[in-house]
């Protein structure tokens, strides 16, 4: 049933040249090449490998030595502090924390590893680390199978040396695998035995290195409990990879690609010719656009920041303490009661009509102003159109007729003034009404409000009084009267 793929994978190995010692196939794990090299994980692997390459440079890399200890030698290791020092010097990391974090991530991906710890992390001290051989890099191996893992653990039990003893979780894994593969356990055992035999023929120091590298490989792919498995793939990306390659890669300018989607009929799937035409139309449209210069964009972004910095809690403390920091929800409660309107809240109404209408108190105040001017119908109309857009589909028809009758029909009860052009468009829209039928008129009316009524409101004594009053923290009475006034107004009109 299951065949071990040592030979197959050896043949497909990418980093062959780096792996002379593995040619005998002490461990053969499944590998794939090609199709998944563009996956997000592989993008990261590639970048890490570029760093590793620099780290392994003989002249300018991290100093690797063989250390003598007692009766034996520890081959090819470097210390955590040497590594971090190198990273601080050679990468654009800001501080030691960032260097440590990046080192930890590279260890978690198995590019280097502590020589006697299953936990793949890096400490800035004299702990010894070793580089992983490219053969075991995550970019070179496809997710290894459980049978491979079983062979590996089984092999470890055959080498009765303390440093190779199974950790508790590994022993548990082995027991579980034995149960799972009970029927082919004999086969697994034989594989392990064969590999172990090959291993025993190796030079002692070489074996030490290889054993640790193989262990680190499994620490990446079968991490110890509590450690992150870095080889996991984002589920969305996994779905994406499993789909056949998409067409029209060359068309990089948002033209219809003829995808299957809930309502695409065959007719809608464009031929290459049509696609090309649409592509060109799009390009022409882009050429015709009037665009502003980056300097203008920069000024706009900066003035937006300068205007709103007072309201950005990451820059300016809010009026009441930030609930998340002080553990007091006072800020939210005050907003709800609308007892005291601060001047900075009122100031914000002057930023834009949108800001004014977004604040319920501001909206009420503006309505009061409009009523005084006998021009409340514009806002009412605009709000009705917004309401229409938010309705369930089944209610759209009725609301469209209602709005037409109330604001636009010849005998409208609350007529709005619109220019002839927009009126004609809307009249035409009414033949085939939908939730967007009034968009043209509504934006016309909004523009009118913004440029005319709103600017007059901002200049009005009413707004100024409110602004000045709010500075002294407007009394409860003041606001209540506004709210009740408009409430009365509403009941009167309805």
């Amino acid at each position: 049933m299951v065949t071990m793929s040592s030979d197959k994978s050896a043949a497909r190995r990418k980093a062959d040249s780096n792996n002379g010692s593995h040619a005998g196939g002490s461990a053969g794990y499944h590998q794939t090449t090609g199709s998944n090299e563009d996956t997000p994980n592989h993008l990261v692997y590639r970048k890490m490998e570029q760093i590793i390459e620099k780290m392994q440079d003989e002249a300018s890399g991290v100093p690797v030595k063989t250390v003598k200890s007692f009766m034996s030698k520890i081959p090819s290791v470097f210390t955590g502090s040497d590594l971090i020092m190198w990273m601080m010097k050679n990468l654009d990391v800001e501080d030691q924390n960032e260097a440590l974090h990046l080192a930890h991530l590279m260890a978690a991906h198995g590019y280097f590893f502590p020589i006697d710890d299953h936990m793949l992390t890096v400490k800035n001290d004299n702990t010894f680390y070793r580089f992983q051989t490219p053969y075991f890099w995550p970019s070179n191996c496809w997710e290894p199978e459980n049978t491979d893992y079983a062979v590996y653990l089984c092999k470890r039990t055959m080498q009765n040396k303390t440093r190779l003893e199974l950790a508790d979780y590994e022993a548990e894994n082995l027991a579980r695998l034995q149960k799972m593969f009970s029927r082919k356990w004999e086969f697994i055992f034989m594989q392990a035995e064969a590999q172990s035999k090959v291993d025993k023929k190796r030079d002692k120091l070489e074996r030490k290195v290889l054993d640790s590298q193989e262990r680190a490989f499994w620490d990446v792919h079968r991490p110890m409990p509590g450690c992150v498995n870095t080889t996991e793939i984002d589920i969305k990306k996994a779905c994406r990879m499993n789909k056949p390659l998409k067409s029209s890669r060359h068309l990089h300018l948002g033209v219809a690609g003829g995808r299957i989607s809930p309502s695409t009929s065959d007719a809608e799937i464009a031929t290459p010719l049509e696609q090309m035409k649409r592509h060109i139309a799009m390009l022409k449209q882009r050429l015709d656009r009037r665009n502003i210069k980056v300097s203008k964009v920069a000024e706009a972004c900066i003035s937006y920041f300068e205007q709103y910095v007072e309201y950005d809690c990451f820059f300016t403390a809010p009026e009441y303490t930030n609930p998340w920091i002080s553990d007091s929800p006072e800020l939210w409660e005050q907003e709800k009661i609308a007892k005291e309107i601060s001047s900075r809240r009122v100031k914000r109404w002057a930023f834009s009509l949108q800001e004014l209408l977004a604040d319920p108190v501001g909206r009420e105040h503006f309505i009061k102003f409009l009523d005084k001017e006998f021009s409340g119908e514009n806002l009412k109309f605009w709000e009705a159109v917004q309401e229409l857009k938010a309705l369930p589909q089944k209610d759209v028809q009725d609301k469209v007729n209602e709005i037409w009758a109330e604001f636009l029909a010849p005998d409208a009860s609350c007529p709005v003034n619109v220019d002839a052009g927009s009126y004609e468009i809307t009249k035409k829209n009414m033949e085939n009404p939908d939730r967007w039928s009034f968009d043209v008129v509504a934006s016309h009316v909004y523009h009118l409000m913004k440029s005319d009524t709103y600017s007059r409101y901002l200049r009005s004594e009413m707004y100024k009084e409110f602004l000045n009053g709010s500075k002294k923290k407007t009394s409860v009475k003041g606001i209540r009267s506004i709210v009740s006034f408009s409430a009365r107004k509403e009941t009167a009109t309805s």
């Binding site: 997000p40 993008l43 990261v44 990468l91 800001e94 924390n97 974090h101 992150v228 589920i235 969305k236 779905c239 994406r240 789909k243 998409k246 029209s248 890669r249 068309l251 990089h252 300018l253 948002g254 995808r259 989607s261 809930p262 695409t264 809608e268 290459p272 010719l273 090309m276 592509h279 799009m282 390009l283 022409k284 882009r286 050429l287 665009n291 210069k293 980056v294 203008k296 964009v297 920069a298 000024e299 972004c301 900066i302 920041f305 910095v309 950005d312 809690c313 990451f314 820059f315 609930p323 998340w324 920091i325 939210w332 917004q386 857009k389 369930p392 589909q393 967007w436 968009d439 909004y446």
Partner: protein, 355 residues
């Protein structure tokens, strides 16, 4: 333009060639025009601003309860509740302020990729590998899942969803490379949006007063701006070298920020019709999953696969600080509606609130 005549050529073989040529010359011209607008770098103009040195963002809450990777979360309009969805097939409604769980809903699929709060705060939507978007009315009296309702179905996984200013509609993005606007009550498809040539990963509604446009980002590395009324793509941006995982409008509505697997964030301006900033560093090698702005648009928060959140000065184009805390990839982040806090969700099974 000399191209008018060429469009009338009828032979398909010939015209494809001719059209390709025309497209290429148009592209070159467009690039030329763009260069003309590129008079100065955003960061150069922003030189006059003070350097941000006084940020003191700390983790304030840790929300524990999911049994698997948190893939998506969304703030309630009430500024203190959060809905989150996880690969354990659970959707949890949190009172993030007290860290209490108010609802834990078991999903029909274990692969819930996206969730969203409705503007009323009384409804949440979610979906994922089931290709569906399902809504759940929230009530304290009965089991939330009894009132669930499937609204729309895509032909591939649903990767992102949002309510466009109304409880009655849902906008979804999907692995079938389309976006779709659905009527919640009837499940009717109101509009669909074709144009991407790869899986749609993220979308965001424009903060304009009419709310008629939205932005989408996709694995085809394109950012598209859509008109919801017509279903047409009205603007497009390219530049990223890998999948775009996140898109977010600048609070002014005039620009969008993106995060990508190419480990950069970028800022595309609608009025300039081009990329105006790139946020990257040589030492940042992991992909970006999620981006969001602070209220003033100055700070750009970005959640990375390297377990961190990088906070960028969007104007000076430099990193301000790094937020450490999560122990696995940061999959989602969002500034709260009143801008008082930042929420993050991670593959380490937790959500955190920073302020």
């Amino acid at each position: 333009m000399a191209s008018d005549g060429e469009l009338k050529v009828t032979s398909p073989v010939e015209s494809i060639e001719a059209l390709t040529k025309e497209a290429d010359s148009l592209k070159a011209k467009l690039e030329e025009e763009r260069q003309k607008l590129n008079d100065v770098a955003l960061s150069t103009v922003a030189d006059r601003l003070e350097v941000i040195t006084y940020l003191n963002i700390k983790p304030r809450r840790v929300l524990k309860g999911h049994q698997a990777k948190v893939l998506c979360s969304d703030w309630s309009p009430d500024k203190r509740h959060i809905v989150s969805s996880s690969q354990d097939g659970k959707m949890i409604i949190w009172d993030a302020f007290t860290t209490n769980k108010e609802h834990a809903v078991t999903m029909p699929t274990t692969w819930v990729m996206a969730c969203a709060y409705a503007p009323s705060g009384n409804l949440v939507a979610c979906g994922g590998l089931d290709n569906k978007v399902t809504v759940y009315p929230l009530s304290l009296e009965e089991d939330v899942s009894t009132k669930k309702k499937t609204v729309g179905t895509h032909t591939s996984y649903m990767s992102c969803c949002t309510f466009p200013n109304s409880d009655q509609q849902i906008l979804t993005g999907s692995g079938d490379s389309t976006c779709a606007l659905w009527d919640v009550e009837s499940g009717q498809l109101l509009q669909n949006f074709h144009g991407h040539a790869g899986d749609v990963m993220a979308l965001d509604l424009a903060p304009s007063e009419t709310g008629n446009t939205f932005v989408s980002g996709s694995c085809d590395r394109m950012v598209l701006i859509w008109d919801m009324r017509t279903g047409q793509c009205v603007q497009s941006f390219e530049g990223h070298q890998s999948d775009i995982n996140s898109v977010k409008f600048h609070p002014s509505g005039d620009a969008v920020a993106t995060g990508s697997d190419d480990s950069t964030c970028r800022l595309f301006d609608l009025r300039a019709d081009k990329e105006v900033a790139i946020y990257s560093k040589e030492s940042i090698i992991f992909g970006v999953n999620s981006v969001d702005f602070s209220v003033s648009g100055r700070l750009l928060f970005a959640g990375y696969n390297d377990y961190t959140v990088n906070v960028w000065d969007s104007l000076k184009c430099v990193r301000v600080t790094l937020l450490y805390g999560h122990e696995n990839r940061v999959s989602c982040l969002q500034v709260s509606p009143d801008g008082t806090a930042l929420s993050t969700g991670s593959w380490d099974y937790t959500l955190r609130v920073w302020a």
